[in-house]
């Protein structure tokens, strides 16, 4: 491969979006748009001739490297980026914390569950069950999560007030607060009315 084709391959691979031929030309101060187009064609031919699993696709006014369609089925089967449909216990627990405490930050979720929540949060976000609803004012302005409409749909709820209320649960899953009234005390110190 010639140097410009190499540069273009590196750029198309690393770029987070489709890249225009003008942008590709600007990678090398000595290259014209025509040079870039020729180098791009050479790269395309290399991919085709050597039967690479990727190809160059024109998309949204620019170019991108994408896997060829014939590998889609195998990749889906391998589930390298698609997750299994069944929610894990960790996901359910994290979702229950978010449902009752929203808007809630990752640190608080981890504090409650005692384990890291990063992967689970990503999964739930990808599944459209939770979303970022804002940022906390705290140190580092952490993201705050809440449940989505899709979450309600999955559970067949009209809105969040349909969730079982505090008094229906063994112990109220309530936001942390100062215990003040008599009722709070009862919940905290008298286990049950037996």
């Amino acid at each position: 491969m010639n140097p410009l084709s190499q540069l273009i391959e590196a750029a198309l691979f690393a770029a987070a979006r489709p890249v225009t031929v003008e942008e590709l030309a600007s990678l090398d101060p000595d290259a014209s748009v025509a040079d870039a187009r020729a180098a791009l064609d050479q790269l395309r031919e290399t991919y085709d001739f050597n039967q690479h699993a990727v190809e160059i696709v024109e998309l949204a006014g620019g170019y991108q490297i994408l896997t060829r369609p014939q590998f889609a089925a195998a990749l889906e089967r391998a589930q390298l980026h698609i997750r299994t449909p069944k929610l894990t216990a960790a996901a359910l627990e994290t979702m229950s914390v978010i449902a009752y405490r929203q808007p809630v930050g990752r640190a608080e979720i981890e504090e409650i569950r005692g384990v890291s929540a990063g992967g689970v949060l990503r999964t739930l976000q990808e599944r459209g069950l939770i979303e970022v609803v804002g940022r906390s004012e705290g140190m580092g302005r952490p993201l705050l999560y809440g449940t989505t409409m899709h979450f309600l749909e999955m559970l067949g709820l009209t809105d969040l007030t349909d969730l079982p209320q505090a008094e229906e649960l063994t112990i109220a899953l309530q936001p942390p607060k100062l215990l003040e009234s008599d009722d709070d005390d009862a919940e905290a110190s008298v286990p049950a009315e037996s």
Binding site: A10, F13, A14, A15, A16, R17, P18, Q64, I65, H81, I82, R83, P85, K86, L87, A89, L92, E93, M95, S96, V97, A99, Y100, I112, R113, G114, E126, R127, G128, L129, H150, M154, L155, G156, P164, L169, T170, I171, L173, P176, K177, L178, L179, E180, D182, D183, D185, A186, A188, S189, V190, E193, S194
Partner: protein, 251 residues
């Protein structure tokens, strides 16, 4: 090694720079500043001259405006304590004399090592950052194509598991709460009007609060003292029974 210290430390501003405030993140902590000073004085960590370094430390945090940061203040007081300990006469022989600097020396050596690893990591990150992974990532697969299976019951079970793991909140505000013994007495009397005997749990009423429990207990003890009720426990660990004292009228 020593280069890494220099790299992380900013230039100490000149003497008498009153009002000069340096970014707090110039040094990553009091140990960092201490290492910087040792290097400036060309002193070995092991031979640390506490008196000199303590004075230098105090002067520098004053100059840099760090003397309001708790971490630096704590180190300053530690150094002053060491300075005094070093001045104390060593009685007896050298045997058994513990060098008061040992702990600080150990911490400085350990911290220097942490800095060395941090530099190694920074270089590793730089090397790795010179390589780019695939930048464009297709949007996450649409959710509808993967019907998620979970039910309310599962969610509720998850809630219960989470609750089980929650550490009881430790925030309490102590509020003076008058006990209502009168009301408790009235409630017990009302109950005993209908039935000759009631259980302790009956006497508490529905959904008792902690105050209710205490009020009821005091009311019962008072009533027993007055001979209005008799409190019996038929067998060890059996439920406590509160009985109307037959000879006395309830009111």
């Amino acid at each position: 090694m020593t280069d890494t210290i220099q790299a992380a430390a900013p230039a100490v501003p000149g003497e008498g720079g009153g009002g000069f405030v340096v970014r707090l993140d110039g040094f990553s902590g009091p140990l960092d500043l201490l290492l910087h000073l040792l290097r400036e004085q060309q002193l070995e960590i092991a031979d640390i001259a506490i008196a000199t370094i303590a004075d230098q430390f105090l002067k520098t945090i004053d100059t840099l405006g760090l003397n309001e940061a708790a971490d630096y203040l704590e180190m300053a007081s530690r150094l002053l304590r060491l300075k005094i300990q070093m001045l104390l006469p060593r009685h007896g022989d050298e045997e058994g004399w513990e060098d008061p600097r040992a702990e600080l020396v150990r911490r400085l050596l350990e911290y220097q090592q942490v800095k060395e690893i941090a530099v190694w990591m920074e270089q590793g990150i730089e090397r790795r950052a010179a390589r780019f992974g695939r930048g464009y990532l297709p949007p996450a697969p649409e959710v509808p194509q993967l019907p998620v299976t979970f039910e309310m019951l599962e969610l509720l079970q998850a809630v219960e598991r989470v609750i089980g793991g929650i550490i009881t909140p430790v925030l309490h505000r102590v509020v003076p709460r008058p006990l209502n013994v009168e009301a408790a007495t009235a409630r017990i009397e009302a109950l005993l009007r209908d039935r000759p005997r009631i259980s302790w749990l009956d006497s508490l009423g529905a959904n008792p609060t902690l105050t209710d429990v205490l009020s009821t207990l005091l009311a019962l003890l008072e009533m027993a003292r007055r001979g209005v009720v008799r409190i019996v426990q038929p067998a060890p660990f059996a439920p406590i029974v509160i009985a109307r004292e037959s000879t006395q009228p309830t009111h």
